[in-house]
Amino acid sequence: MLKNFKKENIGPCSYDLRLKEIFKPKKIVIVDLSKDKITKFTKLKLPYILKPGEFLLGKTFEEFDTPLNIMSILKTKSTSFRIGLKILCAVNDPGYKGEIVFGIHNISNNKIKIFKGMSLLQAVFIDLKGSSVPIQTKYMGGNLL
């Protein structure tokens, strides 16, 4: 179900995901999904000082291979919002394979140091009732675009 995990990161009813890589969106005139005009991303080195208002994408060390009877909801860790980081994440559907990509937004007035292995979000696993179908997405395998 999960590769590259750390036993110590298993919590009472969740798993703390660790940050592996970060990516910064390139500035373009307008993002327009209808015309497929999407921001491109450049990989940044860690540690990185995140300025107030800055937005990045993060990728986790952990790789999911979610079975069809399980889904996980990704949630911000309380430490993240306490230091002023807004973590943007979605549902991890059954059948998803790959790393988790999430948004990191500094909503505080302070600069925040982002480093490798930092736990910013957690996965809550839910056992599903009934049968499911594997998700088909272009983001499979932790693709950014």
Binding site: F5, I10, F125, I126
Partner: protein, 110 residues
């Protein structure tokens, strides 16, 4: 629909059933588990079977009588409890986790 708790997440991610570890942990807790004893068990878990001398060598610890005998006594106690087993090959005594306690070995390794 239900949310998975610690033991279920552990089982799904690592394949380790925590309930099956309760007994070996109870046994270990009776035998003064020091930091060094844990290191020794970890080194033992890293091998299918190994001699005490080789464990001490790998851990860069003294292989003198005192250190050797302390570990041997500890292993003998764990053997009595069924956690470990020993095998004599060419006058050398090889130690390993007993078949019943493979889950403990996996837990120590992961």
């Amino acid at each position: 629909m239900s949310v998975l708790a610690y033991s279920e997440i552990m089982k799904k991610i690592t394949g380790i059933d925590e309930k099956r570890l309760e007994k070996p942990f109870l046994i270990l807790s009776r035998h003064k588990i020091t930091k060094n004893r844990l290191k020794v068990l970890k080194e033992l878990a890293n091998h299918e079977k190994i001699t005490i001398g080789k464990i001490l060598k790998n851990l860069k610890q003294s292989r003198g009588g005192g250190s050797y005998l302390t570990i041997r006594d500890f292993f003998l106690e764990l053997e009595k409890e069924g956690l470990l087993k020993r095998e004599k090959i060419n006058n050398k005594c090889y130690w390993s986790f007993s078949d019943k306690n493979i889950q403990l070995k996996e837990f120590i390794l992961k």
